[in-house]
C-alpha cells in the first residue's frame, strides 16, 4: 500500500531526467517518458490489488508535514479511496496508452526537429500534477496539482511555440482557466475560515453540522468551487478556451483535453459532494450548466471543419453530461461516464491523430474523404469510438454510461433537463457520424499512408476494446465514497426510457446518413442560403461567446488601458515618491562639498545640537 507514492515518483523521476538532458536522442526520450508512466500504471495495478485485498478502506499515506504555521497545518498526505483509485487508474492506465501512442506520433510530428525530451518531460510532469490533484487528502495539495496541470496544459498547448497562434491559444487557455482558479482559491480561503481546516474528509464530515442547509455561506462556498470546476472543465461560462487548445500535439489533446485534466472539475465536485448537498440551489445550477453547455457544444460541433476542433466540442458536450449527472445527484454515474469517456474520447483523438499524420498534417475534414479503404484500421477504430460517443445501444460502453445519466435525470424528477439531454444525444450522434461519413466515406481527396507499428496499433486496440460493452463491465468501487444513485422506478419505466434514448441515438445516425452520405445536396443548399450562412458562422464560432467576451471584457479593458497610457493620475501619484527621493538626494548631495572646513562645521553643528538636546531636553 505504501507503494502508492511510487505512482508519483516514477513520472517525477522521468520528468526530471528528461529536463536535465534535453538533447537526448528520440529513442531515449521516448523510452524514459513512456516507461515512467508504464511503471506508474503497474504500481497502480498493484496498489489496487492490495487495497481491495485489505478490504477497500480509505488509506492515508502521510509523506511529511508541508506547512506548520501557528494553527495552520497542512500535511503532504495522499488519500486513497474508491474515487481516487478510479481516477488513478484512468490517469495512469489511459495515460500510459497515450504516452505509448505519442512515442509513435511525435516521431512523425517532429520530423527530426529537437524537442522530444521536452515533450515527454511536460507529459510526465502533467501526470505527476494530475495524480497530486486526485490523491491529495487536503484542498491545498489538490490545488497544487490543480495549478500544476494548468501549467503543463499551457506548456503543451504552446508546444509548437514558433507559431504565434499556438502561443496565443496557450495564453487563452491559461488565462481563462486561471479565472476559475481564482474563484477556487477564494472558495478554499472561505472553507478554511469556516472549517478551520483544509482536510477534505474533515470538511465533508463537519459540513452538515457547521453549514446551514441552503445558507448563504454554503451557497457561496459551493459556487466558488463550481466556478473553479467550470474553468478547468470548459463549462459555461468559461468554456471558450478548449477548442483553441487543440493547437497542441494530438496526444496532448487526448490526455489533457479529453481524458484527464478537463474532467478534474467533475472529480472536484464529486470529491466535495457534501458541500453541494448543503447548497441545493448551487447543486441545481451544476445540472443546468451541464445541460446548457452540452447543447451549445453540440451545435458548435456540427459546424466544425477541423477534425480536432469537432472532437474538442464533443468533449465539452460530454463533460456537460457529467455535470448534469452531478447536478441530478447521480454521483456514481458521473464518475462512471468520466471513465468511459476517457476511453472512447482518447480513442477518437488518437485515431484522429493517426489520420492527420496519414494525410500529412491535414486537419480539414472536407479535404480528407474516402479514407475507409486506405486506412481500414483507423476507420474501424473511429467507428468504434464514434459509436461509443453516440451511445449506440447494447454493444458500446457509452450506451451504458451516458444513458444511465439521461435516465437518472428523469428518474430524479428533472424532466426539463432530461429533455435537453435527450436532444443533446440526438445532436451527438449526428455530429459524430457526420465526421465518420465525411472523413471515411465519399470520394477520396487525398493521399494517405497508414500508420505502422506496435506503438501505433496497441493503444488504439486496447482503447477500442474498452470502448465497447467490455469497458462498461468494469465495476467501480464507489459505493463507500459517493451516495447511491437514488433513482427508484419500476423496471418497465426504466426500460421504456432506455429504449427511447437508444432510438434517439439511432435516429441521429440515420439523419447523419441522409445528410452526409452521398452528394450532401440538402446540406449544401441550406448552408449556402443567407440564413444558413449566418447559422453556420454562429455555430462554427462556438455560438459567439468569443465575440461576446471580446466585446464585454477584452475591448473595454484595452480601451481603458490605452486611455490611461499617456495621462494616468494613479501614476502621477505614484511618481511623487521617486520625485521626492530624487529631490532629497540632490539636496543632500549638495552638502558633500569635499571641503574639510565645511565638513568640520557640519560636525560641530551636529555635536552642538546633540549635546544641547541631551543636556536640556
Amino acid at each position: 500500500m505504501s507503494l502508492l507514492v511510487f505512482t508519483l515518483i516514477f513520472p517525477l523521476l522521468g520528468a526530471i531526467t528528461l529536463s536535465l538532458f534535453p538533447r537526448m536522442s528520440y529513442g531515449a526520450a521516448r523510452t524514459i517518458g513512456t516507461a515512467s508512466v508504464g511503471l506508474a500504471a503497474f504500481t497502480t495495478a498493484l496498489v489496487a490489488i492490495f487495497w481491495s485485498a485489505a478490504g477497500g478502506f480509505p488509506f492515508i499515506q502521510t509523506l511529511w508535514q508541508w506547512i506548520d504555521a501557528g494553527d495552520f497545518q497542512v500535511n503532504f498526505s495522499l488519500y486513497l479511496d474508491g474515487l481516487s483509485l478510479t481516477m488513478l487508474g484512468v490517469i495512469t492506465g489511459v495515460g500510459f496508452l497515450i504516452h505509448l501512442f505519442a512515442a509513435w506520433y511525435m516521431v512523425h510530428d517532429l520530423e527530426g526537429k529537437p524537442g522530444m525530451a521536452r515533450f515527454f518531460a511536460y507529459m510526465n510532469l502533467f501526470i505527476v500534477a494530475m495524480l497530486l490533484l486526485v490523491l491529495g487528502d487536503n484542498l491545498l495539495l489538490l490545488y497544487l496539482g490543480w495549478e500544476g496541470v494548468g501549467l503543463c496544459s499551457y506548456l503543451l498547448i504552446g508546444y509548437y511555440y514558433e507559431t504565434p497562434a499556438n502561443a496565443w491559444a496557450a495564453f487563452k487557455a491559461f488565462i481563462i482557466t486561471r479565472i476559475g482558479d481564482v474563484f477556487l482559491a477564494i472558495g478554499l480561503f472561505l472553507l478554511y475560515v469556516v472549517f478551520g481546516t483544509l482536510n477534505i474528509q474533515a470538511i465533508l464530515h463537519a459540513a452538515p453540522s457547521v453549514l446551514a442547509q441552503g445558507g448563504t455561506l454554503a451557497n457561496v462556498a459551493a459556487l466558488m468551487v463550481l466556478l473553479g470546476a467550470c474553468g478547468k472543465s470548459a463549462q459555461l461560462p468559461l468554456q471558450t478556451w478548449l477548442a483553441d487548445a487543440m493547437a497542441g500535439p494530438t496526444p496532448v489533446s487526448a490526455l489533457i483535453h479529453a481524458a484527464t485534466m478537463v474532467t478534474a472539475g467533475v472529480y472536484l465536485i464529486a470529491r466535495t459532494y457534501g458541500l453541494f448537498l448543503m447548497a441545493p440551489a448551487v447543486h441545481e445550477l451544476v445540472g443546468i450548466i451541464g445541460v446548457v453547455t452540452l447543447v451549445i457544444a453540440g451545435f458548435a460541433a456540427l459546424a466544425q471543419t477541423d477534425i480536432k476542433r469537432a472532437i474538442a466540442y464533443s468533449t465539452m458536450s460530454q463533460i456537460g453530461y457529467m455535470f448534469l449527472a452531478l447536478g441530478v445527484g447521480a454521483w456514481q454515474a458521473a464518475i462512471f461516464h468520466l471513465m468511459i469517456h476517457a476511453f472512447f474520447k482518447s480513442l477518437l483523438f488518437l485515431t484522429a491523430g493517426s489520420v492527420i499524420i496519414a494525410c500529412h498534417h491535414e486537419q480539414n475534414i472536407f479535404k480528407m474523404g474516402g479514407l475507409r479503404k486506405k486506412l481500414p484500421f483507423d476507420y474501424a477504430m473511429f467507428v468504434i469510438g464514434g459509436a461509443a460517443l453516440s451511445a449506440l445501444p447494447l454493444v458500446t460502453a457509452g450506451f451504458y454510461s451516458k444513458d444511465a445519466i439521461i435516465w437518472e435525470a428523469v428518474a430524479n424528477g428533472h424532466g426539463f433537463l432530461w429533455a435537453f439531454a435527450l436532444f443533446g444525444a440526438l445532436i451527438t450522434s449526428i455530429y459524430t457520424f457526420r465526421l465518420i461519413f465525411v472523413v471515411f466515406h465519399g470520394e477520396a481527396k487525398t493521399e494517405a499512408h497508414a500508420g505502422q507499428g506496435l506503438a501505433h496499433h496497441l493503444p488504439l486496440a486496447v482503447l477500442a476494446v474498452l470502448s465497447t460493452f467490455i469497458g462498461a463491465m468494469i465495476a467501480l468501487p464507489l459505493d463507500d465514497v459517493l451516495p447511491h444513485d437514488m433513482a427508484e422506478a419500476s423496471h418497465w419505466v426504466e426500460l421504456f426510457f432506455e429504449i427511447l434514448a437508444a432510438l434517439v441515438a439511432l435516429a441521429g445516425v440515420a439523419i447523419a446518413a441522409v445528410l452526409f452520405l452521398g452528394s450532401r445536396k440538402t446540406v449544401d443548399t441550406v448552408v449556402e442560403s443567407h440564413q444558413g450562412q449566418r447559422a453556420w458562422q454562429l455555430f462554427h464560432g462556438g455560438l459567439g461567446f468569443d465575440t461576446l467576451y471580446d466585446r464585454v471584457f477584452v475591448r473595454p479593458f484595452r480601451a481603458t488601458a490605452r486611455a490611461h497610457e499617456k495621462r494616468d493620475w494613479i501614476e502621477t501619484i505614484v511618481n511623487i515618491v521617486p520625485a521626492l527621493t530624487r529631490g532629497a538626494n540632490t539636496g543632500l548631495a549638495a552638502g558633500q562639498s569635499g571641503r574639510v572646513r565645511a565638513y568640520a562645521m557640519i560636525m560641530f553643528a551636529g555635536a552642538a545640537v546633540l549635546l544641547a538636546l541631551l543636556m536640556f531636553g
Binding site: 558633500q592 560636525m603 549635546l611
Partner: protein
Amino acid sequence: MNDTWFQILGALPPLLVALSVIGLFVTLCIARHERLVYAMTVGGLNLALVATIALIPLGPVAVTPLYIVDFYTLFFWGVILVATLACAAFAMPYLSGFNDRREEFYILLATSALGAMSLVAARHFGSLFVGLEALSIPLYGMVAYTFRTRASLEAGFKYMILSGVASAFLLFGMALLYGATGSLAFTNLIPAGGYDADAGPWMLMGIGMMLVALTFKLSLVPFHVWTPDVYEGAPAPVATFLATVSKTAVFALLLRLFVSAPITDNAWLLTLVGVLALASMLIGNLLALRQDNLKRLLGYSSIAHLGYLLTTLVAGASLSIEAVAVYLATYVGTSLGAFGVVSLVSSPFAGKDAAHIDHFRGLYYKRPVLAVSMAIMMLSLAGIPLTMGFIGKFYILSVTMASGLWWLTGGVIVGSGIALFYYLRVMAILFMDRPAHAREPQLSGTGDNWAQTVVWLLAAATILMGIYPAPLIDLAAVAGITLGS
C-alpha cells in the same frame, strides 16, 4: 595555573599579532622582500585566529583591569581577523602595480587590526582610547598610502583632521565622566545619586561627547560627511578595512559601553540615539541613490547599514546583542565581498580610477564568476531572502518590533526600499552589454587568484548562511549571553 600566565593566555591572539608586527619591523630592517612580509602578516593573523578559536572553551578572562576576554570578545576578534586577512588578500594584487615601497602597508594593516582587537576587549577608558588611536593612526597612513594619487593623499588628510577633532571630543567626554564619577572603568560609571538615579547634565554631556566621537568613527549622521570622500580616495583594500574592521570594532565597543555602563540607561539618551539611527538609514540611502562611483556608493550604504545596526542599541531587548553579532557578521562578510570585487576590478595604477559604475558594465561577460559574486553581494546588502543579509535584516526588524519601536521599524523598511533601487541598479549594470569603447577590467597577476578565491568563498558563504544560518546564530547567541550576564 598561575594567574599571570592565565592572563597572558587570554591575551594570546592580540599578542601574536603584536609579535608579528615587531617581527615585520625587524625583517624590514634586514631585508626588503614583499612575499616574505606578506607571508609573515598573514601567518601571524592566522595564528591569532587559531588562538582565538582555541580560547573558546576557556571562559571569561580578565586581563588586567583594562581588558576582558569573554566570548563576546572572541567572537569579534574572529570577525576582525577574518576581515583583516581578506583585506590583506585584496591589497596584494591591488598594490602590485604601485611603483613604490609596498611592504610597510602590511605593518600598518596589522597594527590597525591590533588596535581593533584591543578596542573590542576594552572595559576601561584607558584601553578604549589606546585601542581607538591604535586603530586610527595606522589608518591615516593606509588611506594616504598611494600618496602619488592626489585623491588618496587628500583623503588621508581629511580623515586625519576630522579624526583628530573626534578624538578631542572623546577625551573631553572621558574627562567629564571621570570628573563626575571618579572612575574610568565602564562598570563604575554610576550616576551620582546611585544606580537608579538620573544622570546629571554634565554626565550626559560627557557621554554625549563620547557618542559624537564614536558615531564619527561609525560614520553616522550627522558625523558622516567625511565617509564618501575618504572611501573614494582611499585604496580599495583600505576602504574595505574602514568599512568592515574599523566599524565592527567601534560598534562592538559602543555596545559593550552601553551594556555595562549604568549611566547609559537613560531613556532620553536612547531616544536621541534612535534619532541618529533613523537619520543615518534614511540619509545614507538617499545619498547613495544616484551615486555613480561604486566606492562612494558603498560608503553611503555603510552609513545606512550602521544606522540599521544602531537601532539595536535603542531597543535594549534581550535579543539585541545576538542581533548585533549576527548583523555585524553578515554585514562584514557581504561588504568584504563587494569591496573585494571593486578592489579586484579597479587597479588605479593602470589608468584612471576604475570605481566608476561604467567600468562594471558587462562585467559578467568578461569575468562571470566575479560578476555573479558581486550580484550575490548586492542582493545580500539589500537583504533579499536566501542571502545572509536577509538574516541580519530579519534580526534588526524583529528586535525593533519586539521592543515596540515602530518608528525605527518603519525607518528600516523605508530605508531598505530606497536601497533596493541602487543595489539592483549596480546588479543590472553587471549584466548589461559592454559598450565598445569600454576599458577592460584590469586584473594583475600576483596574488590575484588568491584574492579571487576569497571573493568566491565569501559569495558561497553568503548563500550558505542565508539558507542555513543556524551555526552563526548559535555563535552569536553565546556571544550575547556572555556580554549580557
